[in-house]
C-alpha cells in the first residue's frame, strides 16, 4: 500500500514533467494525428506491399477484339490503366521503372486461339520487387484466363455446367486496404514514443542528478521505474484512445468492431512492456547518443518484423524465435483480432499473457541494471 502510494506520487511528478515540456507535447500530438494519417494512407498492412496501382505496359501486335478485351481487363485499383508500347521499348521502360510488367500479345493471337492453336504470350516482369511479383503475375494470369475464357465461350458457346467459387471476405468485406494501414501506423508511433519518452525520462533524470536525490530517499528503483512507466503510459494511452476515436475512426473512417475495454487492457499491458524496453535501453546506454543508436536497433525490427509489414509466418524460423520477444508482434495480433474480428478474451488471452510476461522480463532486466547505470554515470 505504501509502495503504491509512493509510485503514485512519484508518477504525478512525471506527468508534470512531460506536460510542461511544450516541444514534447507538440511531438506527441503530431505523432498521433498527422503521422497516423500520413503513415496510414500508404501503409497497407500485412502482405508485403500492396497489389494496387500496379503498372503494366502492353505490346499489342495483334490489335484484335481479344487483345483489346485483355487490355480492358486490367482494372483499377489493381492496375493503373495500361500503356501501349512497341516491343523495343520493353527493356528501357523496365530499366527506368516506368512499368513493372510488360505483356506482349503477338500478331495472330486471336486467330490462333480461334483455330485451336496454342497461342504464345510473353510476360516480361521487373522482378526486383520480388514481393510484388508473385501477386502481380497471379493477377495477370487471372485476367488472361478470364478474358480468354470469355472469348472462347462466346465463340464456342459450349456452355457446360460446373462449379463456381463464391468468395466472401470476412471482417473487411470490401477488402479495403485503408483499414489496417492506420492501425499499423498508430501502433508504430505508439511503440516509438513509449520507448523514447520513458527512456529519455530516465536518462534526463540521471544527467541532471535528480535520480540520486531519489535514491537516498525511501524510494526503490522499482518505484522510480514503475512511476515513469505509469505516468508516461497514461499520457500515451490517452493519446492512443483519442487518436483511435477521432483520427482512425473519425477522420479516416475505419470501422472498428471489437470490445473497447478488452482493447484498453491489452494496450495498457503493451505500453507497460514497451516502456520496460525503453527503461532497459536507458539503463544500458551511457549517453543520449548511445541511447539513440540502441533505440534504432530496437525500433526498426519492431516496426518491420512485428507483422505490420509482412506476416510473421513468412519469416525464417530462426528469426521468428527472435521476433517472438517483440511485444509488438503479439500486440498486433491481439489488436487485429479485437479490432477487426471482434475476438473476445477467450481468443486473445494467449497474446495478453505473452505481452505481460515479456513486460515482466524486460522490467526485471532493467531493475537489475538500474543501480549499475547510476554508479556508472556518477
Amino acid at each position: 500500500m505504501d509502495r503504491l502510494q509512493r509510485i503514485f506520487w512519484l508518477g504525478t511528478k512525471e506527468l508534470r514533467a512531460v506536460t510542461s515540456d511544450v516541444a514534447m507535447v507538440v511531438m506527441i500530438i503530431i505523432a498521433f494525428t498527422l503521422m497516423v494519417v500520413v503513415g496510414g494512407g500508404e501503409h497497407n498492412g500485412p502482405g508485403g506491399g500492396s497489389s494496387t496501382n500496379m503498372t503494366i505496359a502492353i505490346v499489342d501486335e495483334d490489335n484484335s477484339a481479344l487483345s483489346r478485351g485483355i487490355a480492358d481487363g486490367f482494372l483499377e485499383p489493381d492496375f493503373l490503366p495500361p500503356t501501349y508500347i512497341s516491343a523495343n521499348e520493353i527493356g528501357p521502360g523496365l530499366d527506368d521503372g516506368a512499368f513493372m510488367f510488360a505483356l506482349s500479345l503477338p500478331a495472330g493471337f486471336e486467330s490462333d486461339l480461334r483455330h485451336g492453336r496454342l497461342a504464345e504470350l510473353l510476360l516480361t516482369i521487373d522482378a526486383t520487387r520480388a514481393t510484388i511479383v508473385a501477386d502481380g503475375a497471379t493477377m495477370i494470369s487471372l485476367v488472361l484466363q478470364t478474358e480468354v475464357a470469355r472469348f472462347l465461350t462466346r465463340t464456342d458457346s459450349s456452355d457446360d455446367g460446373g462449379a463456381t467459387l463464391v468468395t466472401r471476405v470476412a471482417f473487411n468485406p470490401t477488402g479495403d486496404a485503408s483499414w489496417t494501414g492506420p492501425i499499423s501506423s498508430l501502433l508504430d508511433n505508439l511503440s516509438m514514443l513509449t520507448i523514447l519518452l520513458t527512456g529519455a525520462a530516465l536518462i534526463r533524470e540521471r544527467e541532471r542528478g535528480t535520480i540520486e536525490h531519489l535514491m537516498v530517499m525511501p524510494v526503490s528503483s522499482f518505484d522510480i521505474a514503475m512511476a515513469k512507466i505509469w505516468a508516461n503510459g497514461l499520457i500515451l494511452i490517452i493519446a492512443f484512445v483519442i487518436s483511435l476515436t477521432f483520427v482512425v475512426q473519425g477522420a479516416m473512417a475505419v470501422p472498428l468492431a471489437g470490445s473497447v475495454p478488452l482493447l484498453l487492457v491489452g494496450t495498457a499491458l503493451f505500453i507497460f512492456a514497451t516502456a520496460a524496453i525503453g527503461i532497459m535501453l536507458a539503463t544500458l546506454a551511457r549517453s543520449m547518443a548511445q541511447f539513440a543508436m540502441l533505440f534504432m536497433l530496437t525500433y526498426l525490427p519492431i516496426m518491420q518484423l512485428s507483422g505490420g509489414v509482412s506476416p510473421v509466418e513468412n519469416q525464417p524460423e530462426i528469426l521468428q524465435y527472435i521476433t517472438w520477444f517483440l511485444p509488438s508482434r503479439h500486440y498486433l495480433d491481439f489488436a487485429n483480432s479485437v479490432l477487426f474480428r471482434a475476438a473476445g478474451f477467450d481468443v486473445v488471452w494467449p497474446q495478453i499473457v505473452t505481452i505481460a510476461g515479456l513486460g515482466t522480463i524486460f522490467f526485471s532486466i532493467s531493475l537489475s541494471l538500474f543501480r549499475r547505470s547510476i554508479e556508472a554515470s556518477g
Binding site: 502510494q5 497461342a119 455446367g161 463456381t164 471476405v169 470476412a170 509482412s310 474480428r341
Partner: protein, 919 residues
Amino acid sequence: MNTGVSSGGQDAVVRISGLSQRYKSVVALDAVTLDLPPGQIVGLLGPDGVGKSTLLDLIAGARVMQDGTLNVLGGSMSDAAHRRRIGPRIAYMPQGLGKNLYQTLSVHENLTFFGQLFGQGKAEREARIKRLTRATGLDPFVDRPAGKLSGGMKQKLGLCCSLLHDPDLLILDEPTTGVDPLSRRQFWELIDAIRAERTGMSVLVSTAYMDEADGFDWLVAMDAGRVIGTGTAAELQARTGAATLEEAFVRLLPDSSGDVSGPLEIPPLTDDGGAPAITARGLTKRFGDFTAVSDVSFDIRPGEIFGFLGSNGCGKTTTMKMLTGLLPASEGEALLFGKPVDAHDMATRHRVGFMSQAFSLYGELTVSENLSLHARLFKLEKRKAHSRIDLMRDRFGLGPYMDKRAGALPLGMRQRLSLAVAVLHEPEVLILDEPTSGVDPVARDQFWELLIELSRGDRVTIFISTHFMNEAIRCDRISLMHAGRVLISDAPEQIIQQSGHDNLEAAFIHYIEAASGNGAAGDPEALALGAVASDAGSSDRLGRFSLKRLLALSHRETLEVLRDPIRLAFAVFGSAILLVVLSFGMGSEDAAAEFTVLDSDQTPASRAYVAALDASPDLTEVASVLTLDALRDQLVAGKVDAGVEIPAGFGLDMALGRDTDIFTLIDGSNVNRGETVLASLEEAHTAWLADQQRQTYHVREHTVVGVDVSARFLYNPNVEIMMAMGPSVPAILLMLFPAILMAVSVAREKEVGTIINFYVTPTNKVEFLLGKQIPYVALAVFNFLLLTLIVTIGLDVPLKGSFLTLMAGSALFGFASTGFGLIVSSMVKNQVAAVTVASLLSVLPTVTYSGLTQPLSTMSPTGQTIGALWPASYYLSLSVGSYTKGLGLEYLWTDLVGLAVFGPVFLAIATVFLKKQER
C-alpha cells in the same frame, strides 16, 4: 541607489547604456549603464543569478541583444559586421570548469583546434602552444584528455585556449570557482605575468570570491540585474564605511538594512559521549584505473558540524555518495549509526537527509508541491506532514513563495527549499554537498544560521562539503581534501595553528604543497620567450569563409567520434545486424495459406476437390470442421486464413453437370494477406476446373484455355526475395543512422556548452555545419562499404552494375541524410528532442514512402510527392538499379542528380535555422 556609475574616459573598452535582457518573465539585466576602463582587470562582483554571465555573454557577442546599446572595442555589438571584425580580438572563457573544452580531446588537440580557428599556421601555432603550456605548467600533460585534468588544470587550459590568439579583451566568467586554493593562486599569478607582458590587454572577470576581488583594479558590484556600485575595492569600502569588501557588498544591496550581522555565534558543541553518527574506515573508490577517493577515515559525533574542504573533483562528492549508499565502496567501510551502509535499507534512509550539489528538486512543481511530494515519499502521516510543512515554511521564510514554481526561485531561495526538503522528515543526519555555492553572502549567512540551529538545537549531525574557506572555518572540525586524499583533519583553528600560517587558505596551500610538491606549477618566465608574431595576411585569414577552419572543425569532430567507440560500434555493427535481420525478415516468400473445410457433401468428388486445393503449393488444409459456427470460430481466432464450404449434393451436381456453388470465407482483416489467399484459391479452383474439363472433353493439355504464358523475370530470374531486399535495406540504414548521429551532435554541443566556441570565434555557419558534417559523411561511406560487403558476400546478391556510381551516390546520400540531421539539430535545444524529432520525421518517409516494399509509382499522389521530396527514394532506386538491374551511370544519372540536390538544400535550411548567437 546609484545604478549607473561610469568610470568616464573616452577610451572605455566597453560602453554600455540602458542594456536590458529578459528570459521569458525573468529579468536578467535591468537597464545597465556602465563604461569599463581599458587596460585593467575589471571585476564583476555578485552571487549567481544577478546577471553577470548574461552581461559577459553580451559583451563577448555570444548572445542576441534585446534592448539598449553596447559598444565593445569601438563599435556596436548589434552590428554583425563589427562583431565579425572584432571577434578575433576578444577571448571568452565561459563559466563552469572546462565548459568550452572538448573533454575527450587531449590538451594539445584542444589548443591546436583553437589555434586553427584563428587561422594560425602550424609553425606559429606550435610556438604559441609551447610558450603557453610552459608558462602554465601544462607541458608535461599535453597528451592527457581535457576531461581527465583536475579542475585547476582545466581552467589553465581554458586560459591557454583563450590567450592563443593574443586577444585585446579577455573575458573570464568565474574562472576560479571550485578550484583548489593553490591552483587559484597560480592562476592569478599567470594572469599578472601575461598582463605585464601584454600591457594593453583589458581583462574582465566575474567572481563570487570577495577575497579575490580585492586584488582587481576596478570593481562592478551587481545585484538583481542592476549595477549597485563601481570603483576600486578601497573606494567601495570607504563609501560604505565597511572594513571588508564583503561587508561593503552587503551594505550596497538595495534591501540591506544597513547593519551587517556580526560574526555568527556558534554555541560550543556539548559532547555527550554518544557513539559516532557517521564513521568512515579506509574508504576507497576506484573508477577503472582512476582512484577518486583513497583511504579516507573519520568519525563524526552526534550534533557535530563536520566539514569537507576541497576543490571540485577532489573526491568530496564521491565520499558522500559512498556514505549515502549511492556508490559502493571499492575498499573500506562506511557506517551510519554504527551500522554498515546498505543501499537497500529503507529504514536508515528515513533517518538521513541529503542535499546534492546539483539543484535536485523538481522545477516544474511549486514550493508547496515539492514539500508535500517529499512528505508523501517519506510517509509522513497527514497531520504530521501539515505541521512539518508549516514549520518549514516559517522557519525557512518560504511563505511568500509557496505557490511559485521551484525552477523560478532565486538561487538563495532554492537552496533554502532544498534544505527544507532535506530536513522535512526530521533526519538525525544531514549530508550536504556544497549547499551554498553561488549563493550571495547574506543568504549564505542565513543558511548557516539554520544549520547551527539544527545542529545545536535539534542535535542533527551535519556533514557538509564546501570550497569556501570562510564557511569551513565555521565547522566544528574539517578535513582538507586534495586529489582523493584527506591531508589533515582537525578543528579549523588547530589546522591553521599547526601549519604556521595565519589563515585557512594559506594553511591549505601549505598542506597541498607538503603532500604533492608544487603540483603543476607553471613557469611564467616562459612568457619571456616573447610573443610570437602572427603569420602574414591575418586580415585575410579571418575572412568570411575559410577552408582551413572548416577542416579544423572536421578534424576535431572526427577525433570526438573516434573517442566514443561504443557509439561508433552501435552505429556500424548495429546497422550491419539490422541489415541481415531486416533482409531476412521483411523479404521472405508468402507462407502457404491455411484453410479449413466444412464438407457437407462427403463424397469422393468433394474430397477430390479439397485434395486439389491442398495440392496447390500456396494452400494447406488444416483440420476440417463440422459446423459453420466452428468455421467462423477458426477464422476469428486467426487459426486459418480461409474457410471453404462444400454444399451437400456437390458430387451429384458435378456428375450431372449441374451448376453448383462452393462457398469460401476469407479473413480480410489482413488485407493483402486476404488478397493473396483469394488469388491462390481462385487459381487452384480454376486449375481444378480445367482439369475437370480436360477429363470431360479429352482436349489437348495445352489448349485448355488456349494460352501459354511464358513469363520472363528480368533482373532476378528466380524471383529471389533476397535479391530485392539486399539492395533495399541499406537505403533505410544509410538514411536513419547518419541522420540521427548528426542530429545528436549539434544538440549535444548546445547542451554541453561547447557551442560557445562557435558563437565567439570567427567560425561561420557553413564552416561549422559542413565541418561537423564531413566526418559523419565519411562514416556513412564507410558504413556503405561494410553493408555492400555483407550484401554481396553474406547475402550473396551480386552487384551487377557500376560500383563507382553506387559509391558516388552513397556519398551524396550521406550528405543528404546528415543534412537532414543538421536541420533537426539546429532547430532543437537538447539531445532528447533531437532524437525524438529526427526519428519521428525520418522513419516514416524512409520506410513507407521511398519505395521499399511498394514501388513509388503504385502510390497515391500524396505518397508519390512525399517520396519525391525524400532522398531515400532516389538512393533506393539507385541501389536497386545498380545491384539487380546492372545499370551504370548512363541510366542512373537522374538518381545521382536527385541525390545531389538534397545535401546543399538541407545544409542551406540548417544554416537558416542555426543562430550565430544565443537567444
